[in-house]
């Protein structure tokens, strides 16, 4: 079952139920790309400089294919961002406050990194380490210029380790609170590792004011079961680009949750890769864009091994003038990834005029030998007729609005299954609703 709707609901008054059947299949053009490269693009990708290439998509690779995107630890390998690249076309570069131009015309990224505080169960270790720690770089390689800038310039990293066989419960979670230290462009680096058969929950709680580019590496050891929740609840003026690189071991499960609430511009780019068979990735996302906010979430699931599963569910509510949400869901099923089972879904709910959601699922399939592959995307509008209908049943306007938004976002909140967080998120959603500018 696949359905695809791309509605930019700002231009139609009615909340449309149209679901256009369809699927993006671009397998043909993909089969020659990096045929031998492993899930991380291999050493060739690390060594290979594409600095002279003016296309963000890499050499000889169609821009539309996610497989061909340049990956490098080196800032210099990435050309300057123009805003016309597929990867950047929705992002208002001017509002990145220099994060996109590090290394150009003296732009620096040397502001103080967010202050990291933590609470964790005894068995879980949280360390601050230097750049040379061998564990850095084990889960991912930057895929865009902003992430590479942070990678090149962070001074210390925080490493969270869930030891092998550790059995954390949903009440026994590790929380890193990252508090922004002001608006000078800064870089941060976090590594979260669940060793073999470890189970647990790690929360990254971003708050304060920051102009931050961050790389988060998530390593899920064989048989481990890790939940990582990244909450972005910054002050209104914050700018945050967060590249979250997830590497999933054999028979491992990861639940990765992105909560984008506060900040002027948030760009969260989680990517998941499998090292072996039996991996299971669940990506959940929830965002609430208010007037003037740009919340962008671009995810990538790279199926390169057999019999792995991925489920993506992102839901967002938007209200107020120029509230903008972007969701891009790239899922690639490589030729060797037989038995893949994937489904991705994005739903947006527009609460007031002037808000805009862009939703682009992109499923590339190189093999027919799969369990299933599908995607759905729809943008709905809460309009006057819906409000009228609820009011004719005695429900007050403010209650009606809440009812709709709560119901809509609850589907994601429920799936997080970390009670303390669910409570907090419900409160955050209420807070967002209370701030309704209508």
């Amino acid at each position: 079952m696949t359905e695809l709707t791309q509605e930019h609901a700002t231009d139609s008054k009615a909340w449309s139920q149209d679901f256009i059947k369809g699927m993006t299949e671009e397998g043909e053009s993909l089969s020659e790309i990096n045929p031998e490269s492993g899930p991380l693009g291999g050493s060739a990708a690390k060594a290979h400089s594409h600095g002279g290439d003016s296309h963000g998509g890499g050499v000889g690779v169609p821009d539309s294919s996610r497989a061909g995107r340049l990956t490098s630890y080196k800032l210099a390998d990435f050309p300057a961002i123009t805003g016309r690249e597929e990867d950047w076309r929705f992002t208002p570069l001017k509002r990145l406050r220099g994060l996109d131009r590090v290394g150009i015309k003296g732009q620096e990224i040397n502001g103080p990194a967010p202050l990291v505080e933590f609470s964790s169960p005894d068995a879980v270790s949280v360390e601050t380490v230097g750049r040379d720690d061998v564990r850095i770089g084990s889960a991912g390689i930057p895929e865009d210029r902003v992430a590479a800038a942070a990678w090149e310039h962070f001074s210390e990293a925080t490493i969270v380790t869930l030891p092998a066989n550790y059995e954390g419960t949903i009440d026994d979670i590790t929380t890193l609170t990252l508090t922004g230290q002001g608006d000078a462009p800064a870089a941060a680096h976090v590594v979260i590792e669940a060793k073999q058969f470890a189970t647990g929950v790690v929360v990254l709680d971003h708050r304060g004011t920051a102009v931050l580019s961050e790389n988060v590496e998530v390593l899920v050891g064989d048989g481990a079961n890790l939940t990582v929740v990244s909450i972005q609840d910054w002050n209104d003026d914050a700018v945050h680009a967060s590249a979250q690189h997830i590497k999933v071991g054999r028979d491992a499960k990861v639940k990765h949750v992105v909560i984008n609430l506060g900040g002027n511009l948030l760009r969260t780019t989680p990517s998941a890769r499998y090292t072996s068979t039996g991996g299971d990735v669940e990506m959940l996302g929830l965002y609430f864009a208010d007037a003037g906010q740009h919340l962008e979430q671009r995810l990538f699931v790279d199926h390169s091994t057999k019999h792995c599963k991925s489920r993506v569910t992102y839901k967002g509510a938007l209200q107020g003038d120029s509230a903008h949400a972007v969701w891009i869901g790239d899922v690639l099923i490589r030729a060797e990834a037989e038995g893949t089972d994937t489904y991705e879904l994005n739903r947006n709910l527009i609460l007031t005029r002037g808000a805009r959601a862009d939703s682009v699922p992109n499923l590339e399939i190189e093999t027919g030998l799969i369990e299933g592959a599908g995607h759905a995307s729809a943008t709905g509008r809460f309009d006057d007729e819906q409000l009228f209908y609820l009011q004719t049943r005695g429900i007050e306007e403010s209650v009606a609005r809440r009812l709709v938004v709560r119901g809509f976002l609850n589907e994601v909140i429920q799936q997080i299954r970390v009670p303390a967080l669910e409570e907090r998120l419900r409160e955050s959603v209420e807070r967002e609703l209370a701030a309704t500018p209508v």
Partner: protein, 255 residues
């Protein structure tokens, strides 16, 4: 006993082309326990009357009054009208994303009663009412009207009628688009609500077909924004035989 009184109601809408008068002096008095059928050709203003009673912001009341036991209905907000006992079953029920039927029904009941219903009896009541209307239990977890067929939407309107116990219900073409089986199920629901007592019903319909199942006490013929003729049930029989022709509109009223 309650009385809903509409007096010399004039209603217009504002469009890009200017102001358009739709209701041109409608008067109607209805008491609880009575069933009034309002019949008329397409475009005669039936839905406008229904929406105006419910308080849709689209419609401007230029003159006239609507009162419920002497209280000024036009001064009330939409939700206040519902809490005062008015119910509108819509011709085109609206889909609400993100809200399950269960959640919606409980919220509506709580709003109308002023307190949350006792969970145990409420759940039982909802299940029983759904079963009587032949609504599959899984609809409880579906979003309000989302992906429902026309008939399913209409059945859910009557479900709400039965659960919310209004004083006055305006049923706007609840019969249209239903096959005979669905029409029977829906009519039985309306009759149960009427038989339960204390309900005044305004049954808006284009066709006489539903009047075989729901017996009106009064029939009003609506033409071009006002009531052209009124009488007892025999007027419906006449319309069935003759259509709306003698009101100089080329439309048929028979099924």
């Amino acid at each position: 006993m309650s009385t809903l009184e509409i007096k010399d109601l004039h209603v217009s809408i504002t469009t890009e082309q200017g102001t358009k008068a739709i209701l041109k002096g409608v008067s109607l008095t209805i008491k609880t326990g009575e069933t009034h059928a309002i019949m008329g050709p397409n475009g005669s203003g039936k839905s406008t009357l229904a929406s105006t009673i419910a308080g849709h912001p689209r419609y401007n009341v230029d003159s006239g009054t609507i009162t419920l036991d002497g209280e000024d209905v036009l001064a009330m907000t939409v939700d206040q009208r519902a809490r005062a006992g008015l119910f509108l079953a819509m011709q085109y029920p609206v889909e609400i994303p993100g809200v399950t039927m269960t959640n919606f029904l409980r919220t509506a009941k709580t709003a109308i009663e002023g307190e949350a219903p006792k969970l145990r009896t409420w759940t039982k009541d909802v299940k029983a009412a759904m079963a009587q209307l032949r609504i599959e239990p899984e609809f409880a977890e579906r979003n309000v009207n989302e992906g429902f067929s026309g008939g399913e939407k209409k059945r859910h309107e009557i479900l709400q009628l039965e659960l919310l116990h209004p004083k006055f219900a305006v049923l706007d073409e609840t019969d249209s688009g239903l096959d005979v089986d669905a029409l029977k199920v829906v009519s039985e629901g309306v009759n149960r609500a009427i038989d339960a007592g204390g309900l005044g019903t305004i049954l808006i319909t284009h066709y006489t077909r539903i009047l075989r199942y729901i017996k009106p006490d009064f029939v009003h013929v609506f033409v071009d924004g006002s009531i052209a003729e009124q009488g007892g049930p025999e007027l419906a029989d006449r319309l069935e035989a003759e259509g709306y022709d003698r009101y100089q509109v080329a439309e048929t009223a028979s099924a």
